[in-house]
């Protein structure tokens, strides 16, 4: 059973499992047109991009995408109370119980897929029946369901349409007292629209799906309507096949359902076939006499329901027995002709001609922020919370500015300058040298420490794994410095983690160094490794990044950005320096190149 009051009285946080942008957009349009302050859909479980763009009214909003339900941040996980599963029939069995297990405050959901094997539907039904033993009353509607709709409160699924003008035409924002229950999704919407034309308001509408074993049974759907204080009468559209209507007839006779029911059972046409075919829905095949439309109509009528012999009579019964309300069309903001933007920008903008950084005017930022603070704000897309991070950024930028003329990036810059090229070409030539072997090791080191400390790998095992695959550990090792002659820059960097309470990554790094130093004196923690470790610790402890947020920074090469930025100053310096000295075109002396002797 569904506790409709709970769904009416609470704001919803919904995840969509799988991707169906039109259905999701229609749910957001419903929220917006209902006057909700924020979109109810909080996350998408899918693959591809990290964020998906949708309309919120005429503006846009972004909804985060996670590869699986366990990757949703805990805070959001705890909010989620409903799901809409639009993944395929093959996937529904694996994705649904996983969702139930991962979301502590889940109240229910809808499975949209057709082609879910009967066995799987029954398994899901049994899973939630067991969950009932606990205090939460969980419902799952479907499979093959367009969902549930409560006017102005909840649209979970395609129900009511996917275009905003459909939602408005069907009066989905003002509630009434008639429930629509239906196996067929299309007919649910047809009836919603016919009721709207008669100015009959909906208390709720629900399509339980045309499969043989709907997880939310027709019986539960009727009992939900019976117990719902808003519902005064029930409109029901059923089809041939199955025996649910006999159960309903019993419930009516037992007075477990007392509200008036106006019903139609479609499928009389089956009578013209010598051997009736499978109609549109999986359940729509009458194999026994009791499953025919005529027999089921009689059973319901005998129990006391108002049953239309024809569909027309059914519609007339609705018109003659349900009072119209003053369910007038409201004025809604025009949502037609919306266009998605081509880009989204999260760091800066232009407000009436004045540049802004993180929504603040640049001139104001320039007054109150130091340059390192501005830089780290723009790199992270948010203002730093701690002074430590700003100070550390400043130190890193200083320490990485230059490392003499002999390193390969500087050499390339100088050669390009001496070839007479311009500033930007010379700078780019230096920048293009940055990679795994030169300057690009901070990111790889961050990846190492994040993986090692994050997965709590034993440092000895970690080193052994690298050694056995003959992999060099980024962040460890130096050409010049060794344990006998340590790198003074590393000491300055490590000082920063002294103020931290956990320093998980720094500790892990030092344990690694201890092991590698036993192998060779120059397998020492280098600047790249130290910067990576301390930056990870600061972001985690002072800025609130969790491991998954940190691995996103690694994936985006944030850690290398510090080197690129800082060393650009060095490269520009070398360019200007060479221009001052003007030594002319460089040519490598021939005796600096060994020619391989191919003859022998």
């Amino acid at each position: 059973m569904i506790e409709l009051n709970h769904l009416r009285d609470n704001e919803h946080s919904i995840i969509m499992i799988g991707s169906h942008p039109q259905i999701l957009q229609s749910m957001l349009d419903f929220d917006f047109l209902s006057g909700k302050p924020t979109p109810s859909v909080k996350a998408i479980i899918g693959s591809g991009r990290k964020l998906e763009k949708f309309f919120w009214g005429r503006k846009e909003c972004l909804i985060p995408v996670y590869a699986n339900v366990n990757l949703i941040p805990t805070k959001i996980k705890e909010q989620i109370n409903l799901f809409i599963n639009v993944s395929s029939g093959r996937r529904a069995l694996s994705s649904t119980p996983e969702t139930i297990a991962a979301l502590p405050n889940l109240r229910g959901g809808v499975i949209f897929a057709e082609n879910l094997p009967e066995k799987h539907a029954i398994e899901i039904w049994k899973t939630i029946r067991q969950a009932h033993g606990k205090e939460k009353n969980l419902f799952i509607i479907g499979p093959a369901s367009v969902g549930i709709l409560i006017p102005g409160k909840l649209k979970l699924g395609a129900i009511g349409g996917i275009e905003n003008n459909q939602l408005i035409a069907a009066h989905l924002f003002t509630s009434g007292n008639t429930a629509v229950l239906c196996s067929s999704g299309g007919m649910t919407n047809e009836l919603i629209n016919q009721l709207a034309r008669q100015n009959i308001g909906l208390s709720f509408a629900l399509a339980f799906g045309g499969d043989r074993f709907p997880i939310l049974t027709p019986e539960s759907a009727f009992l939900t309507a019976e117990q719902d204080a808003e519902t005064k009468q029930i409109v029901y559209f059923g089809e041939l096949g199955g025996t649910d209507e006999y159960r309903l007839a019993e419930l009516i006779k037992e007075k477990k359902i007392t509200k008036p029911i106006i019903a139609y059972i479609a499928g009389s046409v089956a009578g013209v076939f010598a051997e009736p075919p499978q109609f549109g829905h999986a359940k729509a095949l009458a194999q026994k006499g009791e499953e025919t439309a005529a027999a089921k109509k009689t059973a319901l009528r005998d129990a006391g329901a108002l049953v239309g012999e024809s569909y027309e009579e059914f519609i007339n019964l609705i018109k003659n027995n349900i009072m119209s309300g003053d369910n007038q069309t409201q004025n809604h903001e025009d949502l037609s002709n919306r266009k998605h933007t081509l880009f989204t920008c999260g760091i800066s903008g232009d407000k009436d001609g004045a540049p802004t950084i993180l929504n603040e005017e640049l001139t104001k930022i320039a007054e109150k922020m130091s340059y390192p603070e501005m830089i780290i704000s723009i790199l992270l897309g948010q203002k730093p919370k701690s002074k430590e991070l700003v100070d550390f950024t400043e130190l890193v930028l200083k320490l990485l500015t230059d490392h003499g003329p002999c390193v390969s990036g500087a050499v390339n810059t100088m050669i390009t300058t001496r070839a007479g090229k311009d500033l930007v070409s010379s700078l780019c030539s230096g920048l293009l040298t940055i990679g795994d072997r030169f300057g690009g090791a901070i990111n790889e080191a961050a990846n190492n420490w994040l993986k090692g400390a994050g997965e709590q790998i034993d440092p000895a095992v970690f080193v052994e794994n690298c050694a056995s695959t003959q992999k060099h550990i980024a962040g460890i090792g130096h050409k010049k410095y060794s344990s006998r002659q340590p790198d003074p820059r590393v000491k300055m960097i490590l000082n920063f983690s002294q103020s931290l309470s956990q320093k998980t990554f720094t500790d892990f790094t030092l344990k690694i160094e201890k092991i590698t130093l036993m192998k060779k004196a120059n397998l020492i923690l280098n600047v790249d490794g130290a910067v990576a470790a301390v930056m990870l610790d600061l972001l985690k402890e002072k800025e609130g990044y969790d491991n998954s947020a940190l691995s996103e920074l690694v994936a985006a090469e944030f850690f290398n950005a510090l080197f690129v930025l800082s060393r650009s100053v060095g490269f520009v310096g070398h360019y200007l320096d060479q221009r001052r000295l003007d030594e002319g075109l460089f040519r490598l002396p021939e005796d600096e190149v060994a020619n391989l002797d191919w003859s022998g």
């Binding site: 066995k119 067929s184 045309g210 089809e239 009389s268 549109g280 012999e309 027309e312």
Partner: protein, 398 residues
């Protein structure tokens, strides 16, 4: 997705293989070389020949021939073929007394797999319905069933396991004869859940499923379309020379429209039932509409109409699907105008098309359809949700 019937031969092969029982039945299909099959049969054995096409009440309709020798098989098959069947099964005849015939029927139900059993089975099972007892196949249920039938518990448990693992929905064995704890499945009717094929670990595939009886090329084309699409399609011919052609959308809405034809007393004029749903694309809808139009062209009826009907769709795009239908109508517009009237060259009134539909993109979709139909003098009326769904049938038939 619906339940589908397995060939009896294939069902027995699947079940016996997993029970480690031998099964020597021979399937006869239109491709089988019957003479070479007969050569493999023994002179001194008796055989059973039966139609294996998922038809009910075979015995009562004379579609099972018992206890015949090798020499009679060919004539027997020819006789059965003459009745219009294509698939047969030859098995060794198992001699037994009528009172040894038992009944066992497994079915997948909400609470679990159930077994209906009776110690008195055979062709008259329906008259002995009172003797049938039904058990849920939990541990106690399996034990009770084993006792009733005289089979050991292990075999019943294993049978239940096979039923479950192979995504069976229904498995009726009647009669079942048990001798020395070996079950003989004399007749078997099995249905599997077509949605379970992917999970059934290659237990069965499309070739094990009985094709629907005598389909038209158009129905077959739609079956293939359905198989290869995310969307859903169905087409069944009711009367090849019918006058009312249905091009409907939505499982429920299509039933309402077809019912209304029936309710108004025009069932004998109904040419077909069918529907598309689940947001098919333009190409698929075009192809589907072509099949319905092809049926229409083949009909010998004097007067013909098409009802393009459906409820107010949730997510099926009316623009896109109507674009496909219009393309199909456009290709056949000359044929459609030339239909109707008397064959001797009387006035050819042409086919009239009646439309009622709603859903995403309905404004553009309906306008497009109206413009096309009016331009080509095919228009009987184009309506949106303002017209109650069943009314389109009245307008069309009038």
């Amino acid at each position: 997705m619906p339940r589908v019937k397995l060939f009896e031969h294939n069902a027995k092969r699947i079940v016996c293989k997993r029970l480690f029982f031998p099964y020597n039945g021979i399937a006869v299909t239109p491709q089988t070389d019957i003479d070479s099959v007969i050569k493999t049969l023994a002179y001194d054995k008796k055989y059973v020949v039966k139609v294996d096409q998922g038809v009910k009440k075979r015995f009562k309709n004379g579609l099972v021939v018992l206890n015949i020798g090798r020499a009679e098989i060919k004539t027997t098959l020819d006789n059965l073929k003459a009745k219009g069947f294509d698939y047969f099964l030859i098995e060794e005849f198992v001699a037994h007394n009528a009172d040894e015939e038992k009944y066992l029927c497994l079915e997948r139900e909400r609470e679990g797999i159930t077994a209906s059993v009776s110690a008195t089975g055979g062709v008259d099972i329906e008259n002995n319905a009172g003797a049938i007892k039904k058990y849920l196949l939990d541990d106690a249920g399996c034990e009770a069933v084993a006792k009733q039938i005289g089979l050991d518990l292990k075999t019943i448990t294993k049978l239940e396991q096979i039923f479950d693992d192979c995504y069976f929905s229904f498995l009726e064995i009647n009669p079942l004869v048990v001798s020395n704890n070996i079950p003989y499945f004399l007749d078997m009717a099995a249905q599997v859940d077509s949605a379970g094929q992917f999970f059934a670990n290659h237990a069965w595939n499309e070739t094990d499923i009985v094709p629907n009886n005598k389909k038209t090329p158009q129905e077959n084309a739609v079956a293939v379309l359905k198989k290869n699409s995310q969307a859903s399609f169905s087409l069944s011919v009711i009367n090849p020379d019918g006058a009312i052609f249905l091009l409907l959308s939505g499982g429920g809405g299509s039933l309402v429209v077809a019912d209304e034809v029936y309710n108004l007393g025009y069932a004998d004029k109904l040419a077909n039932y069918g529907e598309y749903s689940g947001n098919p694309n333009e190409e698929e809808t075009y192809f589907y509409a072509k099949q319905v139009l092809s049926l229409l062209k083949n009909s010998k009826s004097d007067k013909k109409i098409i009802i393009i009907g459906g409820g107010v769709a949730n997510f099926t795009d009316v623009r896109v699907t109507f674009r496909g239908i219009i393309r199909a109508l456009d290709e056949e517009k000359d044929a459609l105008s030339a239909q109707g009237g008397s064959a001797s060259g009387g006035n050819k009134s042409g086919v009239k098309i009646f439309v009622r539909r709603g859903g995403p993109g309905q404004t553009e979709g309906l306008a497009m359809m109206k413009e096309f139909l009016e331009k080509n003098n095919l228009c009987g009326g184009v309506y949106g949700p303002e017209l109650p769904l069943q009314e389109i049938v009245k307008l069309a038939i009038k």
